[in-house]
Structure formats: C-alpha cells, structure tokens
Amino acid sequence: MRLAKVTLIWAALAAAIGVPIALAATSPQLEWRDPIYILGGFSGIVALALVLVQPLLIGGYLPGLPAYRGRRAHHWIGGALVAALVVHVGGLWITSPPDMIDALTFTSPTPFSPFGVIAMWAIFAVALLAALRRRLGLRPQTWRIAHMTLAVVIVVGVVAHGMLIEGTMETVSKAVLCALVVAAAIKVMIDLRVWRRRATPRGESPARQ
C-alpha cells in the first residue's frame, strides 16, 4: 500500500512533466525550426516543469524527499531553473535578436512576452537573494516574504506566458501542467502558512512537522 502510494506519486509527477515534453517533441512545427530554436523552446518547457517541482520539494510532498532533504534539492533545482532560463532566452536571442530585444524591453507586440520577462527577473531575483541571503543578513521573516512574493510573480508570470504562446506544446497537456504548477504553489503556501505573521521574529521552523 505504502509502496503503491510512493509509486503513484512519482509516476504522476513523471507523467505531468514527461507527457507535455513528449507531445511537444512530436509537434509538426519542429520541422520548420533550427536546432537552437528547438533547444530554446524546450528549455522553456523544462523551466515550466521545474517551477512545478519547486513547491513539491519545499512542501516535502515527494516520497523519499522529506522537507529537510527536499530543501537541498530545492536549492539545486533553483539553480537548474536559472540555467534553463538562460538557455531559453539565449536560444531565442540567437534565433531572432530583434524579437528578443522587443521582449526584453517590453515593446513586443506579443501579449505573453512581458509575463515571461517579468517571471525571468523574479527568478533571477530569488536566486540572487538566496545566494546572498546569509551575507545580507536577511531575517527569516524578510526572506520568506520576499521569496513568497517573488514566487507568486513567478508562478503567475510563467503560467500566463506559457498558456498564451502558440508553440510546440500540445494545448491540453500544457494546460494540465500549468494547472498543476498553480495548484502546487497554492497548496504549499497554505500548508506552510507562509503568509502568517510569526509571533517571534526569529521564529522556529514553520509549522511543518
């Protein structure tokens, strides 16, 4: 029974991420694209998938990765997310520099571009804050509020960006993945009560155990 549950959770995650990627890999549009554009596009899908994994790790929802180990993985996946993003933006830049400049300067005619660019800056900001958190002497409360605010921006931005794009992703699997991203973020924020005011500023670990 326990084993069945563990298998089910991991299988569900593998399907949630694997199915959209597999379907995108069969898109007829790939035929008309350069390898570098394909790489840039799939890095975007991988980044979307990693945004799903992040709250699952920090919430300790994945069997075998309880919250304390999940937190370590969360850091690594955060780094991978930044890397995927750099490849995504870089690949698109090489494919069509003027379109990428339009997006980055918020002058693009495409409605999804600003969502993606704002999410990108939010991801960079979280990564930078996380890396410099000790050095800056951020109080846990300050860090948590900053991270959660940016997390909301990232989730909304990434999902809106992905949903509005007409690209290689198959519509239904994309919508399911995006819905899971939103659901996972909401669940972890409710479970960890991240917005709750702590009685003690240097409060103990969140109400997790």
Binding site: W32, P98, D102, S108, I165, E166, G167
Partner: protein, 162 residues
C-alpha cells in the same frame, strides 16, 4: 448652500451632453482629415531586409498574402506601389533572404502574393509587410493569423505622402 442632487434624469442629461460633445469632438477632425494613415505596428520591422526583389511567388507558394494600399485623406487606391513581404514559413526563417519577396499593387490598389505556408514563430503565426519606397512615409505591418491552420492573411496600408 445648495446641495447637488443626482437623480437618474440629471445624470442621463449630463451624460448625454458629455457624450454628444465628446463624440462630435471625435468625429469632426476625422471628417476634416479623412482617412487616417496606418501606423507601423510594433515589431513590424523585425528581420526586415531592405530591397527584396519583386517576384511572381515566394518559394513554392501555397499561402496567400493580400491587401490594399490607399492614400491617406481621400482613400484613393494607389496603383503600382511596391509592398515587401516576409515571414517564417515552411521553407525558411524570417531572416533568410529566400523568405523575402515584393509585389506591386494593381490599378485598384490591391496586392496579392503567393508564398509558403506561414508557421508560428516566437509564439504567434504572423507575417511582415513593408511599404518602404520613399514616395510615402514608411510603414511596417505585422498581422497575426487567427489560427496557424489558415492559408491566407490580409494587411491594409493607408499611406501618407513623405
């Protein structure tokens, strides 16, 4: 002191007055100036290559780009105007020379050029058109297809003398 009382009647009357003056303000200059020129669209000039050759067809064709060219003000059709067209298609990328071509408008100011099927690029299936011949002010358009399955796309120019 007087108290302002808004009931439905005064509100309707006031609203009607504002609307009437506002609308006439909007309409009058338009009538005086006639047909307004088409502004360039954002991103319209992306991957533009100046001086695309006038061709009977871009690549193997199968997709139709069409539209009209008229003069600002009186809306008179402009014949013999060169419209440049490019897009990301099944045969090439936007910046590829072979994805670019130009055509001339007929006596009714209409143009129509066959080109390869446009496919989505940067998240939207779209084409690019340019009027950049000097006699009128340069205009870049970037129409978006309602669906990637469509096999034609239209764009219309209203040009202003340079």
């Amino acid at each position: 002191m007087t108290t302002l009382v808004f009931n439905r009647r005064t509100l309707l009357a006031a609203g009607g007055t504002v609307l009437a003056t506002g609308m006439s303000g909007l309409l009058l200059p338009a009538r005086a100036a006639g047909l307004a020129p088409t502004p360039s669209m954002s991103g319209g000039s992306n991957n533009y290559l100046k001086g695309a050759p006038t061709v009977a067809r871009i690549g193997k064709g199968g997709f139709w780009m069409s539209g009209t060219v008229r003069r600002a003000g009186d809306g008179a059709p402009l014949a013999g105007q060169r419209i440049q067209i490019w897009a990301h298609t099944t045969e090439g990328r936007e910046e590829d020379q072979r994805s670019h071509g130009a055509t001339l408008t007929d006596k009714d100011g209409k143009f129509r050029l066959e080109m390869p099927q446009i496919v989505p690029i940067f998240g939207q299936p779209h084409g690019h058109l340019a009027y950049d011949s000097g006699e009128f002010q340069t205009v870049f358009l970037r129409p978006v297809m309602r669906s990637a399955k469509e096999t034609s796309l239209e764009a219309h120019f209203v040009l202003q003398p340079a």
